[in-house]
Symmetry: C2
Subunit: 298 residues, 2 copies
């Protein structure tokens, strides 16, 4: 399969759905909605929603299933976007550039950006419980809310960002690095895959396999992110290159060197693909996504 064509199609599908879901930019809350839309509809890669859709397809390729998964995919992107907005704040990583555009707070001010993030996080749970996701059984919706809230919360993404801030500038080892990445990036990536699987009615064995897949591509994703921060230019990334170095953060290349880091990423991708052994060609997009994650240039 041609992964670039696949990614483009899926991205367009997600973007179209996001644009229709997120609230009307008119009315009394227009400024707040505008700030949310500014970061949400800005041409991100949509990796998490695409993983959700691809996982749903791997379990059940029916068009109905994928359509049912769309609001879940969008909720995941809302949560990812909120995390970027808050991470970029002056009190956090203090970044000016994201996805090639000025960061939210440089446009809407700090208060506006904090609230845009809060709004997107809350809106994600609105989507998962609103009529737009009513085609998913209530018991599955509750499991999805739980999967995503757990992954995004204090023991997941938020906790990881907190560790990242606490450990910045300190000498930390591999255990801490693993712990930061697993929680900060890995948890939501695995949750993306799992929530797609839940929508599609995966059995326990399939969920287990997809969890292993998610954990491994999450790891590969983060290693490559660290590598790109060293290797790519700001223009290629659409965000400030070298920011890990600047903020004195421990990364895979700083601990293991670039070559070993790249090998570790490739090994993780291999493990991810091995975990999919029991799936037929419906899981090819997941396999291609795993390879894409390690080969990507931004």
């Amino acid at each position: 399969m041609d992964i670039k064509t696949y990614l483009n199609e899926q991205r367009q599908r997600v973007d179209k759905h996001l644009g229709s879901l997120i609230l009307d930019p008119l009315g009394p809350f227009s400024k707040h909605i505008e700030a949310m839309r500014y970061s949400l509809l800005d041409g991100g890669k949509r990796i998490r929603p695409i993983l959700c859709l691809a996982a749903a397809s791997a379990v059940d390729s029916g068009e109905d299933t994928v359509r049912r998964a769309l609001p879940v995919a969008c909720a995941l992107e809302c949560i990812h976007t909120y995390s970027l907005i808050h991470d970029d704040l002056p009190a956090m990583d203090d970044d000016d550039l994201r996805r090639g555009k000025p960061t939210n707070h440089t446009v809407f001010g700090e208060a506006g950006a904090i609230l845009a993030g809060d709004g997107l996080l809350t809106f994600a749970f609105d989507l998962l419980s609103s009529p737009v996701s009513a085609a998913i059984a209530d018991s599955d919706r509750i499991r999805i809310v739980q999967t995503i809230a757990r992954a995004a919360g204090p023991l997941g993404m938020v906790g990881g960002q907190s560790l990242d801030m606490i450990y910045a500038g300190r000498e930390v080892g591999y255990d801490e690095l693993r712990s930061i990445h697993r929680s900060k990036t890995g948890a939501l990536i695995t949750a993306s895959v799992l929530s797609g699987a839940i929508v599609a009615g995966a059995n326990e064995e399939q969920e287990e396999a997809l969890k292993t897949y998610g954990d491994n591509i999450g790891l590969a994703f983060q290693i490559v992110d660290d590598l790109l921060d060293v290797e790519a230019t700001t223009e290629q990334l659409g965000k400030s290159a070298g920011s890990d170095l600047k903020s004195d953060k421990v990364t895979y290349p700083s601990l293991f060197g670039k070559e070993t880091s790249r090998t570790m990423a490739r090994e993780a991708v291999q493990e991810a693909i091995t975990a999919l052994a029991s799936f037929d060609q419906q899981a090819d997009p997941l396999r291609a996504l795993a390879n894409y994650i390690v080969e990507r240039k931004k």
Copy 2:
């Protein structure tokens, strides 16, 4: 009934449950959990969780029902606490004192406080979908997630805080003031009452009556908050008195004067109590709460 005794008992019940729910302060995320616990377990009035429990009791006073409502009550307090942490940030209202203690960011830094808020908001949805709330039917849990997410989100509490920031220092009229208060404070208060009603299996008519009750006590609550900001001392409030005036915010007393504002609050409470006409004495705590809200001194 003696409202003070009732409030004390309920507050203790909520506090005990909150203390047991919110995560273990040990482990790798200890600093983050500590920041969450600092603001959550700080002796707040617990108005929203108590409203939730009282509404559940008004519909079905069985002890089982109230026990089922406890995690929902706690989720509401997590969301309320997150909103206080973020509202107090330097980029927002820049307050140093809350519930008689230094605000979260003065203790844990801005980044720590932003993340503590994010963590509490996400944890609320974790609670609503986790095994701790499994005694509530999945269809009811989804309705509760929807009720709370809608009330706390971009068209509710977050949107209202955004309006509050945008309108600060501008000349605005009654319509804008109503709109800010309905979204910023009123929506989550009504959602607290409604989510208790859903847990208890309220019928449509009961929900409608409780919604009217919630909307009116929300209004009364905000008017009294505005009055206390002018009349009470910082020591009485446990947060900075006169802060509305300082930040040049429009309030009920600034628009209508103190006497008229107090009359408006009393009228709203009367309407709230009238809405409960079809309920028997099981709704007495709700009636007493309505009166308490307008008579309170902090």
